[in-house]
Symmetry: C2
Subunit: 151 residues, 2 copies
Amino acid sequence: MRISAKCSVAIHCLLLISEYGGRLKITSALAAESTGVNPAEIRALMNLMKKAGLIDVKRGVGGAYLMRSTEEITVWDIYQAVDPYGLEKIMGIHPNPSDTCPIGKRIERVLEPSYTKIEESVMLSMQQLRLSDFVETFREMRRKEREERRT
Amino acid sequence: MRISAKCSVAIHCLLLISEYGGRLKITSALAAESTGVNPAEIRALMNLMKKAGLIDVKRGVGGAYLMRSTEEITVWDIYQAVDPYGLEKIMGIHPNPSDTCPIGKRIERVLEPSYTKIEESVMLSMQQLRLSDFVETFREMRRKEREERRT
DNA sequence: AAGCGATGTAAAAATAAAAATTACAATGAG
DNA sequence: CTCATTGTAATTTTTATTTTTACATCGCTT
């Protein structure tokens, strides 16, 4: 799992729960198999989503369950739960500017307001994407594939 | 320079050119001193911006110069020049999903359209931010500081 | 209440990405 | 021709992240 695919893995897990949670018990072993990611990492990820109130994970018996409808879970909710400092990765600020140079000593404060704007627009677009959108895309995809096979 | 501060360093360099390029020759050594980043990295960064047509860098004699007005250089221009794959860092997709699991084998295609939307919104907000905005913020900041000192 | 299949989580090890450094050929003005 | 400088490749170092291992804990089930 390079360059933070955390959010993708999290969505993958949520889709497993949403689409197969009724029939199968979604354990870390099952999700690990499906995602290709280590069970311990899956457990850590699931645990973060549990703490954020998105899912419930049963100890002892095992299994994960949605705590909200798929319309009530946005990508922003997931992203925040699972990779809270992720956004800083696109726009980090260099840590050792000169404190004698007029630009250097102000650069952080000069960049900050604009970076905040960018982050806000990411937040906004993530808030507009819901787990239900992925569910629909997935189901639509299967439907089409089935049709194709019939022709 | 951790977690891709490339864009920040690039903006820092452009501000040096814009604000002090008339009086000083902006060399990699000078920019390295001001940013706290290695001269070789500065040269690489400047070279990328040169290739993107944002600045001109004189070989032999040295020095960097803007090729467009500060209004005509957006953060998106800079970001694209300097860190073209940067956006993938916020939303990477896990590389080894199961190809037998119904979710696993479709996950990449399920995620992609939404991720594209997010990237487009980042692009849009970066396109709305110009180098001139940073110049203004910088000058305004100095002006206020001078005023404060007078009281 | 013992067994069992799970989770939660810490710690260690491995891996990969990114950055810093070094080095030097190429450049072009004077 | 000299000199300060760029362009760039190669190497080393550093740091972040992931993977793995391990095990205490949990709570059904029998």
